[in-house]
């Protein structure tokens, strides 16, 4: 009884449908392809769909907060690396004003279709305001 009755996990055992962020099927990501320089970094990146599938697996196994995290992660696959680092930086203590955080939430929603992340940022903004964690006046 050590195996759960979750039929899709591990996804690697049902990988026919899995594609990398580049769109290339997993089956085509091989040493031979690497040798012929056919692969790019996007061939080693996970997609939003696969992260959603993992979120669903986590949810069914009872790990609800992890599932929420993986859902936010699925949304963030659309955000480029440098942009993602900037967003994280804005959320650190006293980096952003109230308006800057709301603008970030809006950007997440509008540019990246990332409502769960936007919600997290809005919640942060209101707590940061209450707890003096916003950028202080005069700080640039």
């Amino acid at each position: 009884m050590t195996r759960s009755n979750n039929h899709h996990y591990p996804l690697m055992d049902h990988s026919a449908d899995i594609r990398a962020a580049s769109g290339r099927p997993l089956a085509d990501i091989t040493l031979e392809a690497a040798q012929q320089e056919l692969l790019s970094p996007a061939d080693l990146q996970i997609t939003a769909e696969t992260l959603q599938a993992q979120a669903e697996i986590a949810r069914r196994a009872g790990y609800l907060q992890l599932a929420d995290n993986l859902t936010r992660a699925a949304e963030l696959t659309a955000v480029p690396n440098e942009e993602l680092l900037r967003m994280y930086e804005l959320l650190r203590p006293r980096r952003a004003t109230w308006q800057e955080l709301l603008a970030l939430a809006e950007k997440l929603e509008r540019d990246y279709q990332a409502p769960a992340n936007a919600q997290l940022v809005r919640e942060a903004a209101s707590v940061y305001q209450a707890r003096n964690l916003l950028k202080r006046a005069g700080n640039s």
Binding site: P10, L31, L44, Q54, N69, Y88, L91, R131
Partner: protein, 744 residues
């Protein structure tokens, strides 16, 4: 006051190098149950938490808000809070209550409630609880691989060794932050050479860590530190929301994430707010869960010496591991910093995680010598590898590693060092020369390595981080240099990143890249006969320490050519002469020819007879067949001796001077410490026996007491006795002719 010599010795003991301090709750120097800890409470209104642990929503700090909004399972919270804490504590050790049932309730408990549950448990009960609550069924271990020179070939070789030894994860860090991409690369290449599927990470500042992950150089991140008070959190330059976002950012790149917390960090950073370490840790764990981290590294981590300075500190550290497991978090359970100067104390502390098993017993085990460890030195290090393997073997406990063969180890270290050399050559980094490779293969530490041009390395590391080169460039360089296996494993790590199976709780890979996590390897412990046990192949592997010998090899040294000078005559007869009978065991001079001390039986017999002759008496030698027991041999000899005095001599050398009429287990002198007996002793034994035969007094022969002899030689003793016992026959004692003249 006079000075006690014993106290003076005790003062020198390792344990007295440590600092011990009395609790001071106001400063946070109290591990559990501070008088300032809040009492558990929870009030919900319209699905919203309006009061938690005695604090109204209006007074919530950022951590309270995050726990109330994300950490607590509100659907079960009212039930959980209404369940007596002692009842939940009892459920933890009740084998009839499943992990899932406890976890459901734990998810609805406030931090103060979690701390109150712990107050009912002793360490044994907590270990039982941990065995049940650990999320992954199979325990595992993590290694630290660093060196102060930050030498890439040594990092790769040590990572390969750690992988071969069975560690499922390897963590490195930096002395100079700019070295991060190179260190991450070296342990990635080393690990995938040692054993495919080992997860690797490089602990650095958060944003840099994310960059390394994006470049494909790491597969997990662990040092997302969280704290139990708001001010400490902010001093750590994060908030629960920034940490939650970071966790999602990592996952979006297919990286496994584990948060870090641990008792003592708030007190160390000066903002404990008078609360106990465990209560603050419960807050950390609730927010870790709320942020959606699949797991946590806790168990005081680098602060371990602080709880250990306080009463109940080691218990509190176990308690935090247990709380994390109760909340469904993967636990990498500390033991990763020097916990004590004392080998006794550091090992005793380890047992609390080692025996129940955790997802990673160490986070991590220093797979390099302490002085090369850039984290905190490790509770155990590379010099403890054999001790640790033997602890697994002693207790039939899976500590997550295995013994290794030296030749195999050297080969894998060489392969790893050469692989990183090839990558440096292929990518145009400062060359690693053959002398460096040879040094890395056999090295124990940085001291064994030649120096490198650090300035050139750092400049190349900067270019590597900023440039286009990535995991695929590395794979190609390895392929071209003929390192197909390492290339395949590194590419497979990339493919696994596309699939994301290892984002699930407590995920690791086996050598075939099969994922094991809390989803497909659910801990099903429900008492004796259930749950994980090291069995079959794994138990065989644990047993195969290179130090173990075949029992047949133990007594080869005691077997030689049978003594030609010892001839067996007719059955022994009683006599009335003033003599000493020397009664030997059934194997003496035949199946066995040397004592356990390596003395030839012939020489031993000659020494005894010389001693007897020196007192002017003659001796008769007889062989006892019916028993291999020393007392029985001596007792039989005395029966045949005209004087009533006999020497009983077992083949392994154990000797007794016996007198007729004494009970078999009583005697005149007994020499049980056969490994300490020399020919001089045997001669003295002969002399004393002769004096007893003449009715004279004798000063008992003194023998050096060596209490370690039994420890060293007990297996050999048992096997020699067994061999002698094999020669036991249903025959009367036989007269022996020993063709020998005293040299007086």
């Amino acid at each position: 006051m006079p000075e006690s010599k014993r106290f003076a010795i005790l003062a020198e003991r390792d344990v007295n190098k440590e600092t011990f301090v009395e609790p001071w709750p106001e400063a946070g120097l109290m591990v559990t149950d501070s008088p300032y800890d809040p009492k558990p409470s929870l009030r919900l209104e319209q699905g919203q938490v309006v009061e938690m642990d005695g604090r109204a929503r209006a007074d919530f700090d950022a951590i309270d808000h995050f726990i109330a909004g994300h950490g607590l399972d509100l659907t079960v919270a009212e039930t959980a809070m209404a369940t007596p804490s002692q009842q939940i504590a009892r459920m933890l050790v009740d084998i009839n209550v499943s992990q899932a049932e406890v976890r459901r309730l734990a998810g609805g408990c406030t931090p103060a409630k979690l701390a109150e549950i712990i107050s009912h448990l002793n360490v044994l009960e907590m270990m039982m609880g941990l065995a049940k609550m650990r999320v992954r069924r199979t325990p595992a271990n993590q290694a630290h691989v660093t060196n102060w020179r930050e030498h890439p070939a040594l990092l790769a070789a040590d990572a390969a060794e750690a992988a071969l030894r069975g560690f499922a994860e390897i963590e490195t860090t930096v002395r100079v932050a700019r070295n991060a991409p190179f260190n991450a690369l070296a342990i990635l290449v080393g690990a995938q050479t040692g054993r495919g599927g080992v997860l690797t990470q490089c602990a650095v500042e958060e944003a840099l860590g994310l960059r390394l992950a994006m470049k494909g150089l790491t597969s997990y991140a662990e040092t997302l530190s969280v704290y139990g008070t708001e001010r400490t959190f902010v001093d750590g330059d994060d908030t629960p929301w920034s940490k939650a976002f970071l966790a999602s950012a990592y996952a979006s790149r297919g990286i496994k994430v584990r948060f870090t917390s641990g008792t003592g960090s708030e007190a160390l950073m000066g903002h404990a707010e008078g609360c106990s370490m465990l209560y603050l840790e419960a807050r950390c764990l609730m927010l870790t869960r709320g942020a959606g981290s699949q797991g946590v590294q806790n168990g005081s981590i680098s602060c371990i010496a602080l709880p250990e300075a306080l009463p109940g500190g080691v218990r509190a550290v176990l308690a935090e591991n247990l709380l994390a497991a109760m909340l469904g978090l993967e636990v990498a359970s500390g033991n990763d910093a020097l916990a004590s100067h004392s080998a006794i104390r550091k090992t005793a502390k380890l047992m609390l995680q080692f025996i129940p098993g955790t997802d990673f017993i160490f986070s991590g085990y220093s797979a390099v010598p302490k002085r090369d460890n850039l984290f905190g030195g490790g509770n155990f290090d590379a010099e403890d590898f054999d001790d640790y393997n033997i602890l697994q073997r002693d207790m039939q406990v899976d500590g997550g590693v295995k013994p290794v063969d030296e030749a195999e180890l050297l080969a894998i270290r060489r392969q790893a060092a050469r692989a990183i050399q090839a990558i440096y050559a292929g990518l145009g980094f400062p060359a690693i020369n053959d002398e460096e490779i040879e040094a890395a293969v056999v090295a124990h530490s940085s001291d064994d390595m030649p120096e490198r041009d650090l300035v050139a390395d750092l400049a190349a590391a900067d270019r590597f981080l900023a440039g286009e080169a990535n995991l695929l460039t590395v794979v190609k360089a390895l392929q071209e240099a003929g390192f197909a296996e390492t290339a395949r494993n590194i590419l497979e790590m990339g493919r696994q990143r596309v699939v994301g199976d290892y984002l699930q709780p407590a995920a690791i890979f086996d050598r075939e890249f099969r994922v094991l996590s809390a989803v497909n390897d659910v801990n099903n412990y429900l008492g004796p006969g259930t749950g994980y046990r090291p069995e079959n192949r794994r138990w065989d592997e644990i047993q195969q320490i290179p130090q173990a010998k075949s029992p047949r090899d133990f007594i080869n040294d005691q077997i030689g050519q049978p003594l030609a000078k010892l001839v067996e005559l007719e059955p022994a007869k009683e006599s009335s002469r003033t003599e000493v009978v020397v009664a030997v065991g059934p194997a003496f001079g035949k199946a066995l020819t040397r004592t356990i001390n390596g003395l030839e039986h012939e020489a031993v017999l000659a020494a005894i007879l010389t001693g007897i002759a020196a007192e002017g008496l003659t001796a008769r030698v007889i062989r006892v067949y019916h028993s291999s027991d020393c007392a029985a041999i001596g007792h039989s000899g005395a029966r045949f001796s005209g004087s009533g005095i006999a020497i009983g001599l077992q083949s392994r050398g154990t000797t007794v001077i016996q007198k007729r009429g004494l009970a078999p287990l009583n005697n005149l002198e007994l020499f049980p410490q056969s490994p300490s007996l020399t020919l001089e002793t045997y001669q003295a034994i002969g002399r004393n026996a002769a004096r007893y035969a003449k009715g004279l007094a004798a000063r008992p022969v003194s023998v050096k007491v060596d209490n370690w002899a039994r420890l060293r030689l007990i297996v050999k003793t048992a096997l020699l006795h067994r061999r002698e016992t094999e020669e036991v026959r249903d025959l009367p004692p036989m007269e022996l002719l020993f063709d020998w003249e005293p040299d007086l």
